[in-house]
């Protein structure tokens, strides 16, 4: 078993911003896990992992010239229905100071637009973020846990987009 699985979100930034969607081939996700992940090369990547493995997400622009950063990764609340973010305080992270970014009560990404507009102080340090964590022991094997991947491309009203399609699944 690899100690770490890497998930890469490859984004056609110009295409996504032009069409205002991460679908239609503008987002392509791949991982290098040990098991048979499904949906490789699509936004609906389901990455197979083992408890204790580290998982790291990275965003990369296809043309390498345009900026793209991960703004948030949130696992969806299985009981709350589509599009509702799981609140991180429901679980205790093992790290000290275990707060989570972008999980404040206002939840801007769900307010349908304007998310991140004018939040310059936040987005200009997103490149310092390392999206890495350990697969917890409490995941039910064989069940995909979907997450919302929110990406920031440059700044502005149209700069933040998300998909709710990718998932992690414990083997």
């Amino acid at each position: 078993m690899k100690p770490q699985v890497n998930i890469m979100a490859v984004v056609d930034v110009i295409g996504a911003l032009s069409a205002r969607t991460l679908l239609d081939g503008n987002l392509c996700m791949v991982d290098n896990g040990d098991y048979r992940s499904t949906g490789q090369g699509t936004p609906a990547l389901c990455t197979l992992v083992c408890p204790g493995q580290a998982v790291q997400w990275t965003a990369l622009a296809v043309d390498l010239q345009t900026p793209v950063d991960i703004k948030s990764i949130r696992f969806l609340d299985p009981l709350g229905g589509e599009g509702v973010a799981w609140q991180p305080q429901h679980a205790a992270p093992i790290a000290a100071n275990g707060g989570f970014p972008h999980a404040n009560g206002s939840d801007a990404s769900l307010s349908n637009g304007e998310a991140g507009a004018g939040s310059a102080g936040d987005s200009d340090t997103l490149d310092l973020d390392v999206w890495i964590g350990l697969v917890p022991p409490w995941m039910t094997p064989g069940v995909p846990y979907k997450y919302r991947l929110e990406l920031q491309m440059y700044e502005g009203d149209n700069s933040i987009m998300h998909v709710d399609l990718p998932a992690l699944m414990s083997v």
Binding site: T21, L22, A95, L128, G133, K146
Partner: protein, 283 residues
């Protein structure tokens, strides 16, 4: 991942040649406006390079700089390179076709002279090949800014060749902050050659550098045209900062991923159907 950082050097070639300096005739841009670069679109660009390091102090990301020199008021860089040569051949073929037509149907004398003059203009002016100019600019024709060949150089409506960076040097290089070099590439936008550098972000600070840029002015000698090189310099600077990487989930050390404690239902949750709308832009 290495972020490719581009610095565009836009030169008002005509004015720079007339003034004998790039000062006031060069406009610099980079794609790091959000990183805090200053002076976009002016001659005083300060390029911000934000490095990052790991907890052990090692450099976490590699920053790569690319320089792209463009000419203001010339045929734009989006027109395929080799265009001058293509147009030279194309206009030759057109002129030969016209000469054929003229020979096949000899008309009245005055008319023939007029048509020959027209053909002479449409053939245009080919750049003389000398030992010094052989290669890139030789044996091409002088084109105007709309891509037509120039028959009468006196009007000055020709398009200047793009500026060429011939060296990058100065403090940032002497201090080993960046390692610039010219590279070959299949990239048509840059004529297959471009200047690139990797940057050492471990020593924050401001570092100046100088670009030596070669322009070409059209010189007519004994009725023959040639592009005469004009070497000028312009300066810019890098402002390097570096900050530590951080865990985005915990803001501290490694932790468990924030996966829900209760398992998702096995139906109606996985899969890609009926959820495509949720992937639309939030904006």
């Amino acid at each position: 991942m290495p972020q490719q950082l581009a610095i565009i050097v836009l030169v008002d070639v005509g004015n720079a040649i007339a003034d004998g300096t790039l000062d006031g005739n060069t406009y610099l841009f980079d794609n790091m406006k959000l990183h805090g670069s200053d002076g976009q679109g002016t001659g005083g660009l300060v390029t911000a390079i934000n490095g990052a390091y790991w907890a052990d102090g090692s450099q976490a990301s590699e920053q790569v700089l690319n320089w792209l020199p463009y000419s203001l008021g010339s045929i734009p860089p989006t027109v395929p390179r080799g265009y001058q040569s293509d147009r030279a051949r194309q206009t030759d073929r057109e002129a030969l076709a016209e000469l054929d037509a003229l020979a096949a149907r000899p008309a009245a004398g005055a008319d023939t002279a007029g048509r020959l003059d027209k053909i002479r203009k449409s053939v245009g002016t080919r750049i003389k090949t000398t030992r010094r100019t052989s290669g890139r600019l030789s044996n091409e024709k002088v084109l105007d800014v709309t891509g037509e060949v120039v028959g009468d150089l006196g009007t000055g409506s020709y398009s200047y060749p793009g500026p060429i960076i011939t060296d990058i040097y100065g403090e940032a290089v002497d201090e080993k902050i960046m390692y610039p070099a010219e590279y070959g590439s299949p990239d048509m936008v840059t004529d297959g050659w471009y200047w690139s550098a990797t940057v050492d972000t471990s020593r924050p600070g401001s570092y100046a550098y100088t670009m030596r840029i070669q322009l070409h002015k059209l010189v007519v000698q004994d009725g023959q045209a040639l592009w005469h090189p004009v070497n000028l310099t312009c300066t810019s600077s890098l402002r390097i900062t570096s900050e530590p990487k951080r865990n985005a989930f915990t803001k501290a050390g490694m932790g468990y991923l924030p996966v829900p404690m209760h398992a998702p239902p096995t139906e109606g949750y996985a899969g890609t159907d009926a959820v495509t709308e949720s992937a639309r832009s939030t904006g």
